[in-house]
Symmetry: C2
């Protein structure tokens, strides 16, 4: 057995751990509930226990341990700042904690950034050097590969696509995320229904307004519900405008889109593509552009954590992955 | 004398040529009028003649020849596509033309991109690895240094900051450039005056509405004219919103602002900074951010053309500049 990598996907709901070879082929995997409500220390102990399950007897075989975590976090210091869905986590020096426990190099990246590495290394953007990964879920995040390297920025705070300021409606400034993430879609549908609109969404949530979420809106829209279709189209257009900013700034080769809301498919993607065609400054930006659905699905953060370790925390060019040893 | 670099700044008004040493110190410079109205071939002959003026007797001393040109252009093929201010230029293979003439390696970059290299190498952002250069003039352009390297994108079309889409009150999509470049500022002032507003601008242009430009607006605003102040503030706010997108996506260390409109100073910069403070998602993005005026002024494209050649067309990290030989 050659060198291997340990990967951890620390999420608000689940902790997944796995072992990969250096080609990012899965060798072993485990998962458990995060149970974040129990607090910081029990979650860390649980993470350690599930890392141990995938750790080989001989530590020397391990090149590194990569962790995907919700942000904000500092990838250079390995400190998790204050993720909204990890209760009680505040400035946790997770890298140091894991390095002292396992005595291997530990790398920490935010979930959207490592997902970009994953899709560029083993997913829908494999072989491309100019890649933007966008996740549309309860939030909207992105990770960007610039000419083969993960874009981190001075403090590792790149690339918050969801926070592009985009709408100056009635003079107010909003953002891609506040207009187009799952909760925004659900909120607008709910408001329209409260104001008297009819919608199939109400059947799906069995008449309970508070159960309306983007998934229910997507189901209704797929069944032809006009309100659902209109609200997904609005979200798609806003995301499309954000992508126009990305195209003009980065001139990428591939845009990979993941996250739960992206499962609504063309209901979201068609208006998004229409916004690109309408608002791009020059045909050259979209002529050979590929827009792909995430190929790695639920595994994207786990593969990304492994890719993070394999690229020395994003310091290496993704083309070096095969050549490192 | 060690190795040297030839630099060309091809502009709509002037052609400047110069010779630099490898530390980008100026050794010799020349300039002439472009006279673009004479057409393509005379302009190229004029450029060649003024390159010859700065070319040393021994060609072996020349590391390369860098050219700053208005875009759109393809830095990978060295073809100038169709610059609006160079009449008759359409898909001109300028790199090949200059390489056959002078038999030295030729590198071509758009003016905003090479300006970013210049400010990061020898200007206001010297020593920084995460730099955004923005020029506010008749257009709004940008060049971005990501972790020490010039961002070009797949086809070299990055980084069109001016074309970030901005959604206006009436639901229409505009862009940073269409709202905040010099002509937009002049257009709004002119319209308000036509609709009856009083403004000191009219004294400056001696009553001739058609002579209103951003410079006149800036002069009036500096003298306390409320209309000029308001319109520069609007432009500053729009540029500020565009910079918020840059901060969230790139997390830069320094933003350098150049171009004629930036000479209006705090009339533009104060509302811009206010937009940053108001709309940035987290204090961390602006805590240590430096916002600087261009240090190289009119020489920025010429120094940038030299820096482009010195970095092998932007392929080398700017930190390699000193170590190349």
């Amino acid at each position: 057995m050659g060198k291997q990598i340990i990967a951890v996907d620390l999420g608000g709901t689940q902790i997944r751990t796995a072992r990969y070879d250096l080609d990012l082929n899965l060798l072993q995997r485990e998962n458990t509930l995060t149970q974040a409500h129990l607090g910081l220390q029990p979650t860390i102990e649980r993470m350690k226990a599930f890392v141990r399950k995938v750790m080989p007897a001989c530590r020397d075989e391990i090149l590194g341990l990569g962790i995907s975590s919700p942000g904000p976090l500092n990838p250079f210091t390995g400190v998790i700042v204050a993720p909204p869905n990890l209760q009680g986590w505040l400035d946790v020096p997770l890298r140091d904690i894991m390095e002292s426990e396992f005595n291997v190099p530990v790398y920490i990246g935010n979930d959207a950034n490592v997902a970009a590495l994953a899709e560029a290394s083993k997913g829908a953007a494999q072989g491309s050097r100019h890649v933007t990964y966008i996740t549309v879920s309860t939030g909207i995040g992105a990770g960007i590969i610039c000419d083969g390297k993960l874009l981190l920025g001075r403090d590792g705070l790149a690339a918050e696509f969801g926070h592009i300021p985009i709408v100056l409606d009635n003079g107010m400034v909003s953002s891609v995320e506040r207009e187009a993430a799952g909760p925004a879609i659900a909120r607008r549908v709910k408001r329209e229904i409260q104001e008297g609109a009819k919608s199939k969404v109400m059947e799906i949530v069995q008449g309970d307004l508070n159960r309306i979420d983007a998934k229910a809106v997507g189901m209704a829209a797929a069944a032809g519900d006009q309100l659902g279709i209109a609200q997904l189209a609005y979200a798609g257009r806003i995301i499309g405008l954000g992508i126009v900013a990305i195209l003009h700034l980065f001139n990428p080769e591939v845009i990979v889109i993941g996250g739960g809301v992206s499962k609504t498919g063309d209901l979201l993607f068609a208006p998004m593509r229409e916004a690109l065609r309408t608002h791009v400054m020059d045909e050259a930006y979209i002529k050979d552009l590929r827009i792909e659905r995430s190929a790695l699905g639920d595994d994207v953060a786990l593969v990304g954590a492994a890719a993070l370790a394999a690229t020395d925390g994003g310091n290496l060019d993704i083309s070096e992955l095969d050549r490192r040893f």
